[in-house]
Amino acid sequence: VAEDWFAALCPVPGKSVPLKYLPEFKPEKLYANREKLSMSARQAAALAASAISNRVVLEPGAILPRRLSRKGFQFTMENGVGRDILSSGMATLSSDQTGAEEFGLTSTGFDYLLDSLDQNILEPVFIAHRNDGLGARLGAMVSAMMLAELTDVGFRLVWPQIRRSMNGFHPVTDAGEIFAGDFLQAHLIAQEDFDESRLVAFDDEVARHRVRDALRRAR
């Protein structure tokens, strides 16, 4: 299972699969064991596998567990790739409990991931991102939340400040005054972390078809 899946994520010949069947593998402590190491497609694929399995949205700072599952089997990242990830700076350790580590994806790691992975293996997340009045913003959220629910993917919210020319015409203040803390913790992408140029456009033919198919199934 792991071999087939990883081959789809990272078709690099001659490399061992860095996902190990958990009951037969003893995870060891992870640490950066080299001062300098390049990021690699293999490291990126291991983190992407965790993101897909644990349904984490890829973004700078995303928390990616070492443990993951696929088709009912429990896996863990092997010790080597975990240390490579830390050595290359693709991620840092957010939680260091041996065997249950969590990686914090760095900004450069995020860029590398997007560049190196086949985007067809990634799942969309719907982002509501409006900079105008409250009604339009909440309307976009409702659309995005509905589509996320229907297609079983994530929903995220970006809440920019109101355009200066609109000041005084629309009652839009900081997201913290409008939404509950736990809702924001689960969904908000800070404006400063949001970079449209790093998004894969929905206009991409494959992405469009995937959403359409999901909506047809949801009818």
């Binding site: 982002i127 339009a136 015409f169 629309h170 839009v172 409008i178 939404f179 929905f202 909506l215």
Partner: protein, 355 residues
Amino acid sequence: MISVQTRHVLNPPIKQLLGVESVGPRMAEAFAGIGFSAPMEDARAMAAGVALPAGDVTAIHLRASDIVYGPYSKRQFFGHKVIPYPLAIDLIARLRAGGTTPLLFGEDADLLAHLRDEHGAYCADDIGDRAGFSPNQNALFDICLLGRCGRIIGGRSGFCQLGARIARIEVETPESLYEADEAGGIIERHLSDPDASPLISGKQKAFAARYAFVLAGETIARDERFWRLLELARENDPENVFLQFVHACSLYEAGKASEAETMLSDGLSAGISTLYFLLRTTDKTVQWGTPCAPYMDALAAQARAGHPVAALCCAIHFTATRQDDRAERMVAILGRVSDPEIRRVAARLLPQLSS
């Protein structure tokens, strides 16, 4: 996972894919899933619990703000988000005659008071004990209250559309209720009323006139009614440079190029020229482009026909919007102009000519 944006997702016909009857309930469910802050939840809960006026309630969402009073009063587009007061008066009368209770939502307190006191509508602002509510709370309260109405008449504003999603119904727009000609007649009649209430502001009157253009799909005055409406708009909002620009474009079209040239020249010669800034406005919508964009082809034709101020306006606009070839052609026309005053103004406003 990777991110896509909602604006991309809204492109495909979601209603077609999901079925119209299924979208409303799903969106209402999604709205219920938004985790608001405690004060906002208070507003949502209050809106759910307050008593609506008795009877069969139809909401009329008027809107106003930036489109009537702010930067979008200097654009033709976005007008379809607002219901002008003459149509509001007409709608209230029709609804009441049919035994329905009109409930008004909007932002222009004076106009709302007039429609309530003189025409018998109810105002959402009068519902609920909202003392101490923040603007955000008031807005959410109104959205949720809209969501309780059995019928909603409004423009294509996000606020109104969201209320309709919560109510699981579709907004009925003025376009769907009035023919453009009929609406134009109603608007003209109210604008010509010498006894109109002082609570109806000049900006509201000017917007109503502009709205007649929007509904008819007109950008300039071509017949008598639209000339009268344009004049009424200018009377009521004399500082509105966009109306001045439309007026000049209408004069060119009517063959009165000399008057048009004078009007634009006066606008550009002013110390801090708002016409200059209007021509240089580059923020645009996908559909309409910049505020001046719908007028520029006709204005360029006037420039080619030998009208130098039209050429100057075009050169300013094309330079700002990076239409370099077109700007160059207009600058070439200006190079052949002998009028020293126009040459002086052109040199002041166009970087290509200043050296």
